[in-house]
Amino acid sequence: MTITRRQLLILLPAAAIAWDSILAGTPEASPNYNMTDHWWGMLIDVTKCIGCGTCVQACQAENNVPDGYFRTWVERYHVADWSIENPQVDSPDGGKHGFPPAAKEGGKNFFVPKMCNHCADSPCTQVCPVGATFVSPDGVVLVDQKYCLGCRYCIQACPYGCRFLDPTTNTASKCTLCYHRITKGLTTACCETCPTGTRQLVDLKNPNDPVHKFIETHSVQVLKPHLATQAKAFYYGLDGSVR
């Protein structure tokens, strides 16, 4: 088959564009993964958390998180009587090695795991000056480590304290919802290793996801709802004292 010069002139640019879009990349995963089929979140059942810190350790191991910085952490609350506006909270080393015996007797005491809330209307991605942090098409808030300037505006803008500047890359860093795992059909490292089932990944676009069904049928809360961030980390059994 002969190709005329004219045909070549049309084919070549078309091929270049096609090659370009292939090179541009799609999330490397099983060929089955289609971003638009998913809308990720997490359910945290506070009534089950035992404050063991396994999630914090697992996250650090999975994601190479530097010591002293936390993509997830656990807080312990002590609420005396009706005083929910004045809880006492501690999180020794993010709860990574569990918690020492409580100093106070009585009152309500419980653990609360914290993480990036992967807000659908996220204030942190709004303020990034260059587009280095963004909400992915499947609802995960991510940081492009190759593009981030390290200006730290996103860290200031996050109401939940989940971001930090990674000293090894000098860029902003935070929980990625183990994007590299969930796009391959695995669950997050924290959910995998949580011994009590406190943490569960949820696909809010999947009507058959049992966790999604739980959220639809039980009273759940998000942190700081008055800031209207459309957070997607849902808490079951959250006390009013939790910040």
């Binding site: 002293g68 910085y69 936390f70 952490w73 807080e75 809880p87 006492q88 909270v89 501690d90 999180s91 080393d93 993010g94 914290k114 204030p123 709004q126 303020v127 990034c128 000056p129 260059v130 587009g131 280095a132 593009y147 981030c148 300037l149 390290g150 200006c151 730290r152 505006y153 860290i155 200031q156 803008a157 996050c158 109401p159 939940y160 304290g161 989940c162 971001r163 930090f164 500047l165 890359t169 000098n170 860029t171 800031l227 910040r243």
Partner: protein
């Protein structure tokens, strides 16, 4: 973590401060720029003749500080080599992204253009009267045009006037956006306020006017030239009025917070009374605001001798600059000392020789003064062209 003392509870990632003294310095420097420009515009647009002797000086001061302003930011960035991204892919929902363009617009489209237009006839004269590398320098600066006829100077004047008029809102934009960068962060109740850009603008004007007044008085002393008291009295008057507005705005913010007493109030109140007591109450309010206001008020209502007035202005000016710097400190550092859980406080550990340390901040504060010195040498604010024997011209903008 990292040996940083924490009281109460902070989210673990909040313990280390993100924005250092360099980020305190940046709004201070751009504030001086905006304020100096507003003073210059007093003469050019609002025809306050009395402040004429400070006109060119104000522009050069603004330029000196504007040239240094990006430096603290570059030193702060984790990847300064990527800063071009702000121009290439600006995220239009981010106030910080718009900085690059506002800065570039203000530097080139307002300040440099206005200075060039105002000095053009002098540059042409100097390009013909000097020798050596200076001659080449001025020749380049003429940008090819050596026309200094009456007509062309008239055009310069008109265009310069338009630039100044555009420059006033541009100056507000340059520094107002800094206020907006803080004021639009809903996560931080110490910053989040619609008043923030307005307070920043007025405190910028106060600092800029005070800075030009001090530079003018110092240069007169250095050149052994008598200070034009009519000028300085007028500048001080405007400083006083602007200060009153600034103080009123800050009081309004304070009263509003105390009255509404929202969920953040107790935590912030405690912080101001403890961690921020010295920088906020003592330095910013007592020494940096109330004292200069009272001193300036005294010069407005009491008959004070010229010598005493000069001293009063100098003291008031210096205290003002300290106070406005403290205001920036209290906003930036103060906003990071308390936890967003409202349950605790951390400590700012400022290094000295570190990349974002105190030494760097001091150097960056002094650097613009050196640049200003160089600018004054190259483009003297008090050069009078018609004293040189070049071409007969009636000075189009009454530079007499």
């Amino acid at each position: 973590m990292n040996g940083i003392p924490v009281e109460g509870f902070m989210y673990p990632n909040e313990i280390e401060l993100q924005w250092s003294v360099l980020i305190v310095l940046y709004p201070f420097l751009t504030g001086l720029v905006a304020g100096a420009f507003i003073l210059a515009s007093l003469e050019r647009v609002f025809r306050v003749d009395a402040v004429k002797p400070t006109y060119r000086l104000a522009l050069l001061t603004a330029l000196a500080f504007l040239l240094v302003a990006p430096l603290p930011l570059q030193l702060h960035l984790g990847h300064p080599e990527r800063s071009l991204e702000m121009y290439l892919t600006p995220h239009t929902s981010s106030a910080m992204a718009m900085f690059g363009f506002v800065y570039m617009w203000y530097l080139m489209g307002v300040l440099v253009l206005e200075i060039w237009l105002d000095y053009r006839s002098d540059i042409v004269v100097l390009s013909q009267s000097t020798t050596g590398w200076k001659r080449l320098f001025y020749k380049v600066l003429t940008l090819g045009s050596s026309n200094i006829s009456d007509r062309s100077l008239e055009i310069d004047n008109k265009v310069g006037w338009i630039i100044t008029v555009i420059g006033i809102p541009s100056a507000f934009l340059l520094h107002g956006y800094v206020g907006f960068i803080f004021g639009s962060v809903k996560a931080n109740p110490w910053w989040s306020s619609p008043l923030m850009p307005v307070v920043f603008i007025f405190s910028a004007m106060v600092s800029g006017i005070a800075a030009v007044m001090l530079v003018y008085m110092f240069l007169c002393w250095a050149r052994r030239v008598p200070i034009d008291m009519r000028c300085v009295d007028t500048v001080a008057k405007y400083l006083f009025y602007t200060f009153l507005i600034d103080f009123t705005l800050e009081l309004l913010d304070l009263i509003h917070r105390i009255y509404e007493s929202d969920e953040s109030f107790r935590s912030l109140d405690f912080m101001v009374h403890t961690k921020l007591y010295f920088p906020h109450i003592v330095i910013q309010i007592l020494l940096g605001t109330l004292t200069p206001i009272l001193l300036l008020a005294a010069t407005q209502v009491l008959p004070i001798s010229e010598a005493r007035r000069k001293l009063t202005y100098a003291v008031a000016g210096c205290l003002t600059l300290v106070g406005i710097f403290a205001m920036r400190w209290n906003v930036v550092i103060g906003g990071q000392l308390f936890s967003k859980s409202f349950l605790g406080y951390t400590t700012y550990k400022m290094g000295f020789v570190a990349r974002e340390g105190l030494l760097v901040a001091i150097v960056l504060t002094i650097l613009p003064l050196f640049i200003l010195w160089a600018l004054i040498k190259l483009l003297p604010p008090w050069l009078e062209t018609h004293s040189l024997d070049v071409s007969p011209l009636a000075s189009a903008h009454g530079d007499d």
